[in-house]
Each structure stands twice: as structure tokens, then as C-alpha cells.
Amino acid sequence: MANMIEARGLTKRFGETQALAGIDLNVPAGTILGLLGPNGAGKSTALRIMTTLTIPDSGSCLVGGFDVLHEAAAVRRTIGVAAQDATLDELLTGRENLVMVGELGRMRRSAAKNRAEALLVEFDLTEAADRVVKGYSGGMKRRLDLAASMMTRPPILFLDEPTTGLDPVSRNRVWAIVRELVSEGVTVLLTTQYLEEADQLADRVAVIDRGRVIADGTPAELKRVTGGAQLEVTLSQADTRSRHVLAPMVEGEIIASSDGRHLRAPVSETRGLVTRAVRALDEANIDVEDIAVHQPSLDDVFLRLTDKKLTQKDAA
């Protein structure tokens, strides 16, 4: 499968800050790459370079087969972009914004109007469509920006933190739209701070920290590195039988605290796990005080990944 996005050794420095320290990325056609990283990791800078907004200090990048530096016009005809700061005209209505983007994207006015209408429905913005964007909530602006990125049906989409600031319902809606586009063959590069989002959407994930890709793989591979989800159980009093009860539901070793009341174990399948665990413990007459599945957070990912890097260095 051909790569729709190919970045090689991208570097960028802003004054004292090395925003990118040499980044390589590949996104095959019709797939989603998630760029995962904390604030300031360099995600947005990488995205700005790939969307022709920022010139890298060194390195090269092909988008849709076109060079972002020397064929910027061709790249711009191929991409749709939803940047992190809403890039909308605050004094126009939502509908006027979309039609304007369509017209600047070389669509006929009538086609732009139809497409705008469809996207307004899709992003649940019909009620606000003819209101000035200035009065929109943050989530509405975010959704309109995403709609704008899809106006011209670009084959490649760049979405910078597409669901930051969205409520869960809108977030699921955006995820569904992105999935549908990819099923139609669109290639997507999105940045996110949420492991869950990368897990839900991305075929592959690249973890970025301080301007470098520190891990790259499928979400499952990444989870293996980070240890995945953990089941955490607190009992009213220590009970050795609890290990036997929980063992079939977890993967790997169950770690108990010194007083034996707190148990922790890695798990892979988390659906309905808490219910099953409580039921099994209850049947064995073991009193549960608290039980939860702890999903690995971005912090966990980073802790593990930076740990791993250190040990690798030590080994070398």
C-alpha cells in the first residue's frame, strides 16, 4: 500500500526550543495514524509542516505524493485541515464559513451549499447554522472546524486534537464520521492527548515526546509496552482465596499490598470485568470494598516508554 503521508527527518527550532528533533512518519493510504503526546511534544508543529503552514529547518515530507516545500499548491488541493485553534471567521455564520471554504477549495457555489448543508446535519449544527460563529460554544466551533476540513472531500485529512473540548456524545459522533471517511478510502493523521482516542480510531500510533517519536506501533503493541489496563480490588479484610477467584479473569501476576487487602493485576478484556469479578468474589463470600479497572493514562504510557528507553540505553 502506498504511503499518502511520508515524513523524513523533520526538524524545527523556535528560538531556544527544539520543537522537532527529527521525526519520521508513514501513513499508508486509507489508514489513520494517531500522533500521541502531551502538550508541547511537537505534535502541532509536525502537523503544521505537513499542512504547508510551517517550513521545517531540515527534512522532507511528501503528502499525497507531493512535496510540502516545493509543491505546496498541489498539497493544498489534496488536504483538509482542522487546526487546534479554531480557524473560522467569527463574523460569518457557520453556513457562510463552510460555503466560503468550499468556494476557496474550487467548488461550485451550488455544490458548496449542498455539501455545507450535509455537513451541518452530520455535525449536528443545523440549528446554529445561520448564527454568527462568535456566539458559538467551544465545542460547536470545534465541530464546525472539522466540518470545514471535510468540505471539499479531500483524500487526506489532518485533524489536530479533533475531540478536545467536545462532550462525549459529540466525540462519539466525530469518531463515527472519521471511521466512515476512512472506510471510503480517506487517509487521516490526527493528533491527540488521549490514549483512548488513539486506541479507538488509529490503525497505528506514534508517540511523540520532546520532538521525537519514542514509540510507534498499533494500539495493541503500544499497550503491551505500557502494560495495558489494570484491575484494582480493595477487600474489607485480607483473604488468600481471592487470588484463586480472580486468577481466571486476569493476565499475569496478581500483586497484593502488604496488608493483603489491595490487589492489582493486568487485564486485557475489560468489558463486564468488574461485574464478573464482584459476582465471583461475592459467591466466595469475600467482601469487596472497592473495585475498578484502571486504564493506562498517557502518564502511564510515558512513564513506561521513558523507562524502557533508559533501560535500553543502559543495556547498550
Partner: protein
């Protein structure tokens, strides 16, 4: 599948001349919509001209004798130029505002013709200038201004004034592209535009001014365009007696000044715009 996806861009066409004109039109339309949304921001081309006309004709005019005509006949061309000059600030403020929001980033990821942002701005500004000119003319007629010429020279006068306004829009565009915020653009603009508008023959004849000031006023483009309008409209034009070359050939020098300003400022503006939007 990947083949059809890759071929999609060319299907959407390139940046042809037609595309560039369309981009300019889309940008112009956008700026005009802004005006419709916030009409009070337009007070400098709607209310200000009326206010200044009344103020100058009825308050200052009563104390300024004009040889060969009434003060209203004399001052109208000057008021037109003063209003057009000060309102060109809108270009600076509009551009700085655009640059401070993310909307320019959106434009830059689109396959549009880059300069359309600047040209669209200058065109919407000249359209508001036309409205300003109309309001000045109507108010002038109401307070007794009477041009003593046929429709062609009268329109020629307005055309020369609007050409100058268009040139000023490009000058102010450069200010807006350098300024960090709309407030800075506004104050820097006033520092440039107010002396330009007032150290001129627009509101009072120049022969009473002290030597150096008079020379500056006689060579000021605002004076030239004002004198050109007065000459074309057969309104009192005391500057005709000045020996300064621009005052002897106001029509020609007005056009030369305006074209020169556009020729210098438009390329500078596009370079500044490129530099400002590239990181």
C-alpha cells in the same frame, strides 16, 4: 483505490486566472459581510463624514474667508479627502484582526490564490470608500456645496479621489501587516494619517501657513487630490495661485502619486504578508 484518491486533486482544478478572480471575489464578499454584521464599525465612513461636514461648514467655515466662493464650496473636496484618508485605517485594522485569528491559517491550507486575501481587502475597502464619498457628496449638497461643472468632470474628481483612497488602503495594509495588534495598527495609523489629512489645503487655504508647513502642505498628496477635485468641480481653489509644481498640475500629480503609492506598497504588502504568515 489509492489511484483514484491520488488523482482527485487534479479533478478539482488548479489556480487558473478564473480561480484567482473568484478567490478575490470570495474575500471581498467576506469583508463586506463583516461590515453588514458590525455596522457601527463603519461609523468613520457613515457618521463621521456627516458630522465633519456640518462641523466645518457651520463652525469653522464662518471664520474662514474664501476668495471667490463660499466655504462650503471650498471645503467639500477637502472633507472628502480627509474622510477617505482617515478611513483607510480600516484596512490596517482589518488585516491585523485577520492575522490575530486563525482564519489566515485556514486560507493558507486552501488551494486559493494567496494575494486574494490582500486584494479582496483593498477592494472591499474601496467599496466602503465609495459609500463614504456618496455620503460626503449628499451632505455637501444639503449644506450648500454646488459643483459648477458637467457630470463627466464631477465624476472624474470622485474617481481620482477614490483612486487615492485605494492607494492609501495599500499603504495602510503595510501598516496593518507590521502591527502586532489592531490597537497598534490604529494608533500608528492615526500618527501617519492625521498629519497627512490636516497639513494640507483640505480645510484651509495654505497661503496663511508658515513657510516650511506651506511647502509640506503644497507637496502633500492629499492637497494635490483636493486641488484636483476643486479644479474639476470648478469650486474655489486658492492653491491654484501657489507656485509649487503639484498645485499647478493637481490632476496629473494626483494620479502619479496614487499609482506610485500602489506600485510601491502593493509589492511590499505581499512580501510582508508572506513573511508574517510563514514560520
Amino acid at each position: 483505490m489509492s489511484q483514484s484518491v491520488i488523482s482527485a486533486p487534479s479533478a478539482r482544478g488548479g489556480s487558473s486566472t478564473g480561480g484567482a478572480i473568484k478567490d478575490v471575489w470570495v474575500m471581498t464578499k467576506r469583508n463586506l459581510r463583516h461590515i453588514a454584521r458590525e455596522p457601527l464599525q463603519m461609523s468613520d465612513v457613515t457618521i463621521q463624514p456627516v458630522l465633519f461636514t456640518l462641523l466645518f461648514v457651520y463652525v469653522f467655515g464662518s471664520g474662514i474667508p474664501i476668495p471667490g466662493g463660499s466655504y462650503a464650496d471650498f471645503v467639500l473636496a477637502g472633507l472628502l479627502l480627509m474622510n477617505l484618508t482617515t478611513s483607510s485605517m480600516g484596512t490596517a485594522v482589518g488585516l491585523t484582526t485577520d492575522l490575530s485569528t486563525g482564519v489566515v491559517d485556514r486560507f493558507r491550507t486552501m488551494p486559493m490564490w494567496g494575494p486574494a486575501v490582500l486584494i479582496g481587502r483593498s477592494i472591499s475597502d474601496v467599496l466602503t470608500s465609495m459609500m463614504c464619498a456618496l455620503i460626503v457628496a449628499v451632505t455637501g449638497l444639503a449644506v450648500g456645496w454646488r459643483p459648477d461643472a458637467g457630470p463627466a468632470p464631477i465624476l472624474a474628481g470622485f474617481a481620482i479621489a477614490l483612486l487615492f483612497a485605494y492607494a492609501m488602503a495599500w499603504l495602510c495594509g503595510c501598516v496593518g501587516l507590521v502591527a502586532k495588534s489592531a490597537e497598534t495598527a490604529q494608533s500608528v495609523g492615526f500618527l501617519v494619517l492625521f498629519p497627512l489629512a490636516f497639513v494640507s489645503n483640505a480645510l484651509v487655504p495654505t497661503h496663511g501657513m508658515p513657510g516650511v508647513v506651506q511647502v509640506i502642505a503644497d507637496w502633500n498628496p492629499v492637497s494635490a487630490v483636493t486641488a484636483a477635485c476643486r479644479q474639476l468641480w470648478h469650486n474655489p481653489n486658492p492653491s491654484a495661485t501657489s507656485s509649487a509644481w503639484p498645485m499647478q498640475h493637481p490632476v496629473v500629480i494626483s494620479i502619479v502619486y496614487s499609482l506610485a503609492l500602489i506600485a510601491i506598497c502593493a509589492p511590499i504588502a505581499s512580501v510582508l504578508y508572506k513573511r508574517r504568515t510563514t514560520s
